[in-house]
């Protein structure tokens, strides 16, 4: 559906997007993930044909965005960052204007406008001026503008920024619902959002793709290490000695010395070995009280931080 081939964007000497390539299949919901300034918006602006890349090629639904912009752009609904809207128009006028811009046929226009108003639940405010709407509504109006004209691809740049938790859930549900019938790219620097909605994640940092995979596989990549987090009360300070007696222990690290006298450790053990039972029994025998014992699950958050950290280390070495 979308092919990005070796795309680079330079501003003078600054490289905003550095030789990125990826493919997005029909029906996928893809998350573009990265810290602020990583090149997410630039990438989206290039795919939508708003800015031209310095090098490389973008093909949307079989049409090159530079050589055949009309046909390529017709397949895309874009919700830009910061939801730019015309404040002096009403919601309905704005959607009507977007339908005209997207060259929706006159006959179908009325019906299609009504359809997106319903999809985005804007019925109650459709005759209100956009400037009088709350942030959450504005976001939905922008979404309606992207949706009108039935584009197959939706590109949403940070669709939940600046919303309250209830609105975020609403927008997420809307995106999930739209994902059943559309190919979607969303950008975000919030990991939980991406892992909830997307079935593929592309992690970008300083203009480069550092990983692309399903959220699950990315988590697994980081999960190689078998780690436990344990909080104990250890009056005789013999915990390290005792722990070392257990087979398969690689490392034990003190992470927190709590005020109430308990201590939190992270224990790393060999892979595929569950040492929880042994720890529990041994500690109990030696008079060490366990307050908390849990297995550390890797999250996308860890994957993200690890990957970005690794890349930076590599760069520093070079």
């Amino acid at each position: 559906m979308i092919e990005v081939k070796n795309v680079t964007k330079k501003y003078g000497n600054f490289i905003a997007v550095n030789n990125i390539s990826f493919n997005i299949e029909k029906g996928e919901i893809v998350g573009l993930l990265g810290p602020n300034g990583a090149g997410k918006s630039t990438t989206m602006n290039i795919i939508t044909g708003f800015i031209e890349q310095t090098e490389g090629e973008i093909v949307v639904g079989g049409y090159n965005i530079l050589k055949n912009p009309k046909k390529a752009k017709k397949q895309i609904g874009y919700m830009p960052e910061g939801v730019p809207l015309y404040n002096e128009l009403t919601v309905k006028e704005f959607i009507n204007y977007m339908a005209d811009l997207k060259q929706v046929a006159k006959k179908e226009k009325k019906e299609k406008i009504q359809k997106v108003i319903e999809q985005t639940h804007l019925q109650n405010v459709q005759n209100k001026l956009i400037k009088n709407l709350s942030r959450g509504y504005k976001q939905r109006v922008s979404m309606a503008g992207a949706l009108v004209g039935d584009p197959e691809i939706l590109i949403l740049d940070e669709p939940t920024v600046g919303l309250d938790p209830k609105q975020i859930t609403e927008i997420r549900n809307l995106i999930k619902e739209l994902g059943k019938t559309h190919t979607i790219i969303i950008s975000s620097h919030i990991l939980s959002e991406i892992s909830q909605i997307c079935n593929k994640v592309i992690i970008i940092n300083s203009g480069k793709i550092i990983a692309q995979d399903t959220p699950k596989k990315l988590e697994e990549k980081v999960k190689k290490q078998n780690q436990l987090s344990v909080t104990i009360e250890d009056k005789e300070t013999k915990v390290e000695e005792i722990t070392k007696q257990i087979q398969g222990i690689q490392e034990m690290k003190l992470v927190k010395d709590n005020e109430d006298g308990t201590k939190e450790y992270i224990i790393t053990a060999d892979e595929n070995q569950d040492i929880r039972k042994e720890i529990f029994e041994k500690y109990a025998k030696s008079g060490i009280t366990i307050f908390e014992l849990k297995k550390n699950e890797a999250t996308l958050e860890d994957a993200f931080i690890n990957l970005i950290g690794e890349k930076q280390e590599e760069e520093e070495k070079n």
Partner: protein, 208 residues
Amino acid sequence: MYLYGLFLAMCSVFFYLDVVEYGSLQFENMFYSASTILTFIVPILTMRMFAEERKLGTEQLLYTSPTRTSSIVMGKFLASLFVVLITEIFTLLYLAILYFFGTPHIQTILVTLLGFLMLSMAYISFGMFASSITENQIIAGVITIGFFIITWFLPNFSPILEPLSLINMFDKFPSGLIALEEIVTYITFTIFFVLLTMIVLQRKKSMK
């Protein structure tokens, strides 16, 4: 909207000063003054055209749509011209008043209105261009007014520069003469700046 009001209010003053005061039936006379006002009204009309879109980010909606840049430019240009055309039609009310007192020379008036539209067209094309090169509408407005005033006074420096003065060219129309040379100049000027606007917007895409 307030521009309509402003322009028409000024026109009624000119209608009184330039036509009624002289007990004249020459409706066209008020357009000398009206063209002066046009010099200041057009920049206000055009300064927001692209500058504001850029500032608000709504240009992203425009340029990511399947509509061509050239169509967007033409659409904005024609819309502004239409605004001027409507005000022109409103001024015909004054003409109706004159019909109570006699028969004004209708051909001369039509030629004047044509000239006024030509001048507006040229002005709008430049104003639009100025708006396309900046994201600050005030700067766009100042560039436009500055340019109009400079071309206004150019003939004062040297008579050779006479053909470059947009507003002076208009002065031939109220005499009832279809000034072909002037019309060609206006049209050429307009096409030049409309094309330049399209090129600027296209170029900005790869610079952004």
